[in-house]
Amino acid sequence: MKPENPLHLLSQKCTTGCPIIDRVLSGGIPCNSITELVGESGCGKTQLCLQLLLSAQLPISHGGLRASSLFIHSEFPFPLRRLKQLSLSFCSSHPHLLPSQDPCDFIFVRAVQSAEELLVLFDRIDALLTCPPSKLPVKLIVIDSIAALFRSEFENTPADLKRRSSLFFRISGKLKLQAKRFGLSVVVTNQVVDVMGSDGINGLRVGNLSSLYSSGRRVCPALGLAWANCVNSRLFLSRNDEIVSKDSGLVDGGDGGTDVVRTRKLQVVFAPHLPEAACNLLQILSTAKISRLTVALYSTD
């Protein structure tokens, strides 16, 4: 066994494609570690993941990994149309930076229905990682979502919970092993559960924020304390809708009526390399202009 010199450790990061988020994450999603995205449905978790699949293909000089990616999904259906939309706008905004082919050629997708299936998949993943079917190596694994695999199968008895947490550690151990061997950046998404009452085990403070709020409700990440021990960094995405009347000047060209201002917020709950930080992602849903919804959410414009 030989020690490594910390000076020579690679700390590569994969850009998220959004300068504001990149600044909060000091460059993006780090390699050799597991980053968890937590948020209620409709927060933009999958959206951010899809964007990562594309930006991973950017050259290293542009913050990417110059790599293809593997998307493991347990929530159905796979958002193929959205990916197609994003890849088109991605192609047009980075015309010279991408390999000549369609960006979707560098994204491998695999559906997984149970935790056992996921574990079996990890054993077979070596072939994909050592000799990738495309010309770019696989450097990014996204699992969307980890919570969906565990939320139905297990009961709330001590024996089941124990079996569940041992599965967490096995999955995380395998992921970290692969991440170390191949320099992978691993992203997993997780759902939230509501917190009832003020304390109890769900009200336990984990990380920088004493409590997490989304859509005005107090929430906490699913899968409990055991899973929180399995990830290296945890990012929390939340959203808040606020109804504002149009003549307040928030939206230009307002003609009366109301708008919904949706603020999405990304907060660092804990990460070994990041201070407590947050950024807002503002989005305005006009009742008249629903089409604006599809403007790429996590872009600066």
Partner: protein, 429 residues
Amino acid sequence: MEVADLPLSPSQRAKLISAGYTTLSSLSALSPPHLACDLNISEYEALEILRMVASQSSKTFGGTKAIVVGAQTAWDMLHEENFITRITTSCAELDNILGGGISCKEVTEIGGVPGIGKTQLGIQLAVNVQIPVDYGGLAGKAIYVDTEGSFLPERVFQIAEACIKDMVENSHFRRKDFQTCQDKLQPNAFLENIFYFRICSYTEQVALINYLDKFISEHKDVKIVIVDSVTFHFRQDFDDLALRTRVLGGLALKLMKVAQKFSLAVVLLNQVTTKFSEGSVCLALALGDSWSHACTNRIILYWDGNERYAYIDKSPSLRSASAPYSICGQGGNQISFTLQSCPEELIDQQDITIQQLGEKDIYVNYRFNVITGNLGQLNLVLACQFEGWREEQGGSVGQGTTAMRSSAHCSNAGSPLVGVRLPTFPASV
């Protein structure tokens, strides 16, 4: 005294000498089964020989010397304890309750929930152990055993930078040649002096801990071993909990031995788990009750409101106490305020004025300009860092950071003025 002079039967003497035991000291540390095996005699016979050796050696060396090699009198130990070195945690209050820092020759376990700062404390210790002797450090090296993958070099670099800055600040009162010292202190050198092992399975972890003895005897300047975390791989595949307890017990013994032999500090980071007892759920450090005997000291990190606290849960020499500590981005040496508001894009650079510096409270006003239109509710976080704060008469030094949240509602572009009182300053400031 030689074996040849012992009142033994000639055959036994011949066996001892042919097996290579010629002096008494070579015999005194042996156990009867070991000797029986070496000489091919019965265990009872071996025991008799060893008894003889013990009685002979106590006669020759007099009563004050230990009968068994390796044992010490309590008096000697007390004398030795005065020379035990400690590694500072860089937090004055935590050092206070620990009696100066993490002590060498002992195994210390630090546990807490995710995000409380276990890894940060681990990295800080790996850096602090390298503080040169001139600056009151140990000038040692560190072994960092990473089982979780949370060791990021960029963070180590930051901590090393802050540590150097601290050293330079504190020393410039008494040293004139600090400029030259500063040139010698480079963050990169701090990183190079950390031996980093990334462990991906429990078998590797066991193997590495067995190997530590050999590695450290080749690198004698290692003064701390940090295992971050000892738990992770042992929560995966162990259905046989009895086996897990045995393996962990073995590890703990090895680590204690290493700590004693090379007089270095061993720091084990541990996770927190929920424990079911009598139908209710409570928090406890992972790895079970039997593990709690494995470490000499046990420190638990926890949240109290918005402040992090460390609590000494178990220690043979320190009394139970708790102390607040904080984790900050970069060590600062003066009070500095930054307005961390979001989105940053929408706010112009703010100006912040300290309005009143009371005995314990500081009133701060901050003003900012909104660039793009209206924002509705703005969440503002005013972070305040203060380190090395020096009172003019008392000379006490305070350290820490605190953050105050407030929100301002701005309906149109303008410059709202928000006053904030920072309530949680420690008494020393």
